[in-house]
């Protein structure tokens, strides 16, 4: 029997430990495509989270009823249904946003993140756990999309969420709102994230070695004495 982790842990692990973009490298297409501004990033992440949470929940509830041979097909139908609902709701209530996100709302269906969480987590866990897991992953996705969207918006158009924040003399870096800027920003951010993780790991390792040494030192000194 696997050790049960707390529900809180189930949620927080999605924020960083298994962050969808940085750690699982899933859902790259929307991450790159829609992040020309912070608001687009938020909208995309919220739509994705909506689909992720509801489909995880449903899949987890009916996980024992689905014959294993047709599980992927069933997951896809469930996900596609929620995506269509999200798409229709966006078109009806937020026409402007839906226009700027373009065909990327329908493409949430093939966001590997959703099918990935369905297959790896929701199909094996209780609905409550699946709910927390998907919320966590959704939040993790939101954070990354918001960061990338903000960086690109600040440097590319000198604004954040539509407000001018850069001094007037600031010449926007056009490259940031071009496709190339998306690749560069994400690449650099991922590199930085890896650097931070490596750095932390090294520190931990050193502190363990240090502890080990100091615990050994005492007896050796004693024997020498």
């Amino acid at each position: 029997m696997k050790k049960q982790v707390t529900l809180l842990k189930e949620y927080t692990k999605g924020l960083w430990e298994i962050n969808p973009v940085f750690k699982q490298v899933l859902g790259m297409c929307p991450t790159l495509a829609v992040t020309v501004s912070a608001i687009n990033g938020i909208a995309m992440a919220l739509a994705t989270t909506f689909v992720l949470v509801l489909s995880s929940l449903i899949i987890s509830i009916i996980r024992k009823l689905i014959p294993p041979q047709v599980r992927i097909a069933s997951y896809i139908v469930i996900i596609a249904t929620f995506v269509t609902i999200a798409d229709l709701v966006m078109k009806a209530q937020f026409p402007e946003l839906s226009k700027s996100l373009g065909p990327f709302i329908p493409l949430i269906v093939v966001n590997c993140l959703i099918l990935g969480r369905a297959e790896a987590f929701a199909s094996k866990n209780t609905p409550v756990r699946a709910l927390f897991d998907s919320l966590g992953n959704g939040t993790g996705f939101l954070i990354v999309l918001f960061i990338i969207g903000s960086i690109r918006e600040i440097l590319g158009s000198g604004t954040i969420l539509g407000f001018h924040i850069m001094p007037l003399t600031f010449e926007p870096w056009l490259i940031m709102i071009l496709p190339a800027g998306a690749f560069l920003t994400l690449g650099l951010l991922m590199g930085l994230a890896n650097f931070y993780v490596d750095h932390k790991k090294n520190k931990e390792r050193e502190s363990i070695i240090e502890k080990f040494r100091s615990s050994k030192q005492l007896p050796t000194i004693e024997t020498e004495a």
Binding site: C29, I76, A80, T81, T84, C112, L115, P179, L184, G191
Partner: protein
């Protein structure tokens, strides 16, 4: 001539990977070796053309006449999933060498957003049947081109001294950024 332009536009100017961000997952996942990149590109192009044909037929002959436009996403994705499965079985029966070359890539294609993106774009832009085929050929060629360019660069990168945190996905993304810049030079070639 018009079809040729459509092909070039989909392959180079509006390259699926580098300017429309479709199919990034396989682009990063399968671009470390030239030979597998080529196979993946060919398998994807093959599925793209069939998807374009079938999804066009479903969209224009079943969904629109019956006012079922809202079933577009579920039906397209199901078509793609079953097509991929069917193509896999078909290739396995017909030619073992091709199956060995492409087989392992086929399941990956189902979740390649370039395929669904293609089907949706063809429906959105209201292409005729023939236009759709040329568009899908161009998209496939563009995907293959981006993939093999990247694979070529990554094979060289193996020998380069990349800082450790940037190995793998990060450096690939940065190189893709530079490639995207280069591809921007093609913009406006055809208007």
């Amino acid at each position: 001539m018009e079809f040729f332009l459509l092909f070039i536009s989909a392959a180079i100017i509006n390259n699926f990977v580098l300017s429309m961000f479709l199919g990034i997952c396989p682009f990063i996942g399968v671009s470390n070796k030239f030979s597998s990149a080529l196979s993946m590109g060919m398998a994807t192009t093959f599925v793209m053309v069939i998807t374009a044909v079938v999804s066009w037929l479903i969209w224009h002959l079943i969904l629109i006449p019956n006012g079922l436009e809202f079933l577009q996403i579920p039906s397209f994705i199901l078509v793609i999933a079953s097509l991929v499965q069917f193509v896999e079985m078909f290739i396995k029966k017909v030619s073992q060498p091709i199956y060995r070359a492409l087989g392992i890539f086929l399941p990956l294609i189902t979740t390649n957003c370039a395929i669904l993106g293609l089907a949706l774009l063809i429906a959105m832009k209201d292409y005729t049947f023939i236009e759709g085929i040329f568009f899908s050929l161009g998209a496939g060629a563009g995907f293959t081109l981006a993939l093999i360019l990247m694979a070529g660069i990554r094979e060289e990168l193996e020998l380069a001294d990349v800082p450790k945190p940037f190995r793998g996905a990060p450096i690939t993304l940065i190189v893709a950024g530079l490639l995207a810049l280069a591809f921007m030079g093609f913009a406006g070639m055809i208007s």
